[in-house]
């Protein structure tokens, strides 16, 4: 793999990591804690959406994030020819 494509592979990886980490932070620290008052007008089962994110939603989002990242990276690995044969 050339230096140029190695750099492109790594920056594509960093980009998807950044996107996933932003979502990771928004659902947990954001919706679950800091932003809870802002979304408290959305009711869910006797309480508000922030409570759901703190006890259920953030965990479910984490799962989706890891599987998305795995899928994305498998594709990226193939595209750059660095997948494991």
């Amino acid at each position: 793999m050339s230096d140029k494509s190695a750099a492109a592979y790594w920056s594509a990886n960093l980009r998807v990591i950044t996107i996933c980490m932003v979502i990771w932070a928004v659902v947990s620290f954001g919706f679950g804690i800091v932003l809870r008052p802002l979304i408290s007008w959305i009711p869910i089962g006797g309480t508000d959406l922030g409570f759901w994110f703190a006890q259920q939603g953030s965990i479910l989002t984490f799962i989706v994030l890891i599987f998305y990242y795995t899928w994305y990276m498998n594709r990226l690995d193939k595209e750059f020819g660095v997948d494991e044969q």
């Binding site: 793999m1 190695a6 620290f29 259920q56 984490f62 799962i63 990276m73 690995d77």
Partner: protein, 596 residues
């Protein structure tokens, strides 16, 4: 058949299964012993990781931890799961590509420094040994409660079983027993949860039941719970209450997340899969298996707490509120209360001498308690572990479900203990012995050394379980703080910063380690000895309002800052190390690293 016999049969059968697996999965080489020859299927590894991760505390205590605080303790749920995102995205695939057997091995080789390796070994041993104490005492307690033996006898039995499969099979034996232990613990946890959810809400899925309608009152379950708690003078369930604050919730959640990602006994599980892409996938499966318990736990907590309150106050007024004037008579209490009173986890004291149970918050009594001159809260001991342990009895489930809870609690404790013991023994035999003291050691001798250090680690853990230091309850905070402040930043910089050099890594780890230990000891006492704390552990004395339990995040930030300052003042890592970092960033060639 009585309950005791049933417990004995179920627990005995689960132990026989673990020993059977141990004999089947014997380790023949160091690669078997340290990393199960890197041949573990990613889904199997996910389940093993989940069992490795979920300790006696997760299984027995977490639902109660949430139930007695409510929303504020959601930090544990987010913190102990969010760490897996960090593992999958930032650490696991690259560590797998690097292809070593231990965490200090990565740090030592990447930072081309025996000092860095030694600092990593010291942090690993400190956090893993403190962590294992809780598992061994947990196993002892579970034994004594369900099998009516003294907890020391329970501890010896547990140690013997772990000894058989960990010394014989190493990582290979541990992996497949952890898979079996995961199945036992998740079944044990879920069955009572489904039934309590059905009884309270009519919905068999606890995660949905938590947000459904409470069948008896017709109100949403959480609204009903908020209402009855406030009626009894407790704070409501879904709100945020002092001493918790938004700031410390964020900091504490973050500390748990990066601490989780930095725990060596979790990281080494990702060395066992064949490929880099399997390491990523495996982290996803691990979180699925963990979430099966972690999304059920808050439902169990809320439902069990509501259930217990409505058991004590069975009547309601015309407005639907609890009828505080007609509490349960002590003589009429259900059998599960009677059973758990005998264990001391639940205690009732008839302060008013009127033969009824008055349960309320005496610090903020409801109006009627003041008017009628109630004598105080009469449930004087209400151990949070009861919510899980007594759940099958509260839900009136058959005896074999109660026996499953016993087997599940033991599975949770033993699986975590085994993972920790492997991390400890491999750091000794591989890092200290092979990589530092006696590099020419043969493969066979190293395998023998690994087995001997495993045996020593088990003996030490058993001794510590029998003589737990007074600080046992605090050590989890220390373990997470150290993992967050020392290992996580070092590993991350090793992957994401090509130029990071040995001086930067060593200074960073030491700054993170020492600042965290110093801050925790300042408020919780030197080595947690009561009375030796320099400042009282209350919010007004905390530096910038930071709780000592949340300090891991700050320690990690200090680690990064110290490392980059040192890097700026010294020469960057040599070219061959930078090339090495380049090579671990791409998956291709991971299979070749197996030979190492």
């Amino acid at each position: 058949m009585d309950q005791f016999t049933l417990n004995l049969i179920v627990v005995g059968a689960s132990f026989a299964l673990y020993v059977g697996i141990a004999i089947w999965a014997r380790a023949g080489s160091t690669s078997d012993f340290y990393a199960a020859s890197r041949g573990v299927n990613p889904i199997v590894n996910g389940a093993a990781t989940a069992a490795d991760w979920m300790s006696a505390a997760s299984f027995i205590s977490m639902a109660g931890l949430i139930a007695f605080v409510g929303y504020g303790n959601s930090t544990f749920l987010m913190g102990w799961t969010g760490g897996y995102v960090l593992l999958a995205l930032l650490l696991a695939p690259y560590l797998r590509k690097f292809g070593r057997f231990t965490v200090p091995d990565f740090i030592g080789d990447r930072f081309y420094s025996q000092t860095a390796r030694l600092v990593a070994v010291i942090s690993l041993l400190t956090m893993s040994i403190t962590y294992v104490i809780g598992q061994m005492t947990g196993a002892g307690v579970a034994f004594s409660r369900f099998l009516e033996v003294p907890s020391s006898t329970g501890l010896y039995i547990a140690s013997t079983v772990v000894f058989i499969y960990a010394v014989l099979g190493g990582m290979k034996g541990i992996t497949y027993t952890q898979l079996a232990q995961y199945c036992v613990l998740i079944v044990a946890y879920t069955i009572p949860a489904i039934f309590i959810s059905l009884q309270l809400t009519g919905n068999p899925i606890p995660q949905l039941g938590l947000f459904s309608t409470h069948s008896d009152s017709g109100l949403p379950l959480l609204t009903k719970l908020d209402q009855v708690l406030v009626e009894l003078g407790f704070h409501d369930y879904t709100g945020l209450h002092a001493p918790q604050s938004t700031f410390n919730m964020v900091l504490f959640t973050m500390s748990l997340m990066i601490g989780t990602a930095g725990l060596p006994h979790v990281i080494i599980r990702f060395f066992t899969v064949p490929k880099v892409s399997d390491a990523r996938l495996s982290a996803g499966w691990a979180l699925v298996f963990i979430a099966l318990l972690y999304t059920v736990a808050p439902a169990v907590g809320a439902m069990a707490r509501l259930n217990i309150i409505t058991t004590i106050y069975p009547h309601t007024t015309e407005t639907g509120a609890l009828d505080l004037e007609q509490p349960l008579a002590y003589a009429d209490r259900p059998e599960w209360m009677l059973n758990w009173e005998q264990t001391g986890l639940l205690a009732f004291e008839d302060k008013a001498g009127d033969g009824v149970i008055r349960y309320y918050n005496a610090a903020n009594p409801p109006a009627i308690a003041v008017e009628e001159g109630w004598q105080g809260n009469e449930i004087v001991t209400f151990n949070q572990d009861i919510l899980v342990l007594a759940n099958p009895e509260i839900a009136q489930l058959p005896g074999w479900v109660i026996a499953l809870i016993a087997a599940g609690g033991l599975a949770a404790a033993l699986s975590t203990a085994a993972g920790l013991l492997l991390a400890i023994s491999s750091a000794i035999s591989h890092d200290l012995l092979k990589k530092m003291l006696y590099p020419s050691i043969s493969e066979r001798a190293e395998l023998l050394a690994a087995r001997i250090s495993m045996a020593f680690a088990i003996a030490l853990a058993t001794w510590l379980g029998l003589n737990p230091p007074g600080f046992a309850a605090q050590v989890v905070a220390l373990a997470f703080g150290l993992a967050a402040a020392s290992l996580f930043p070092a590993i991350m910089m090793g992957i994401f910063s090509k130029k990071m050099n040995s001086a930067g890594a060593v200074v960073g780890m030491l700054v993170g380690l020492l600042s965290t230990v110093a801050y925790i000891f300042t408020y919780l006492g030197i080595f947690f000895i009561p009375g030796t704390n320099l400042l009282p552990n209350t919010a007004e004395y905390w530096l910038f309002n930071i709780s000592p339990l949340s300090f891991g995040t700050v320690g990690a930030i200090l680690n990064f800052i110290a490392a980059y300052i040192t890097l700026a003042l010294t020469k960057p890592a040599p070219q061959e190390i930078q090339d090495l970092v380049e090579s671990i960033r791409v998956p291709r060639g991971a299979a070749g690293a197996q030979a190492h």
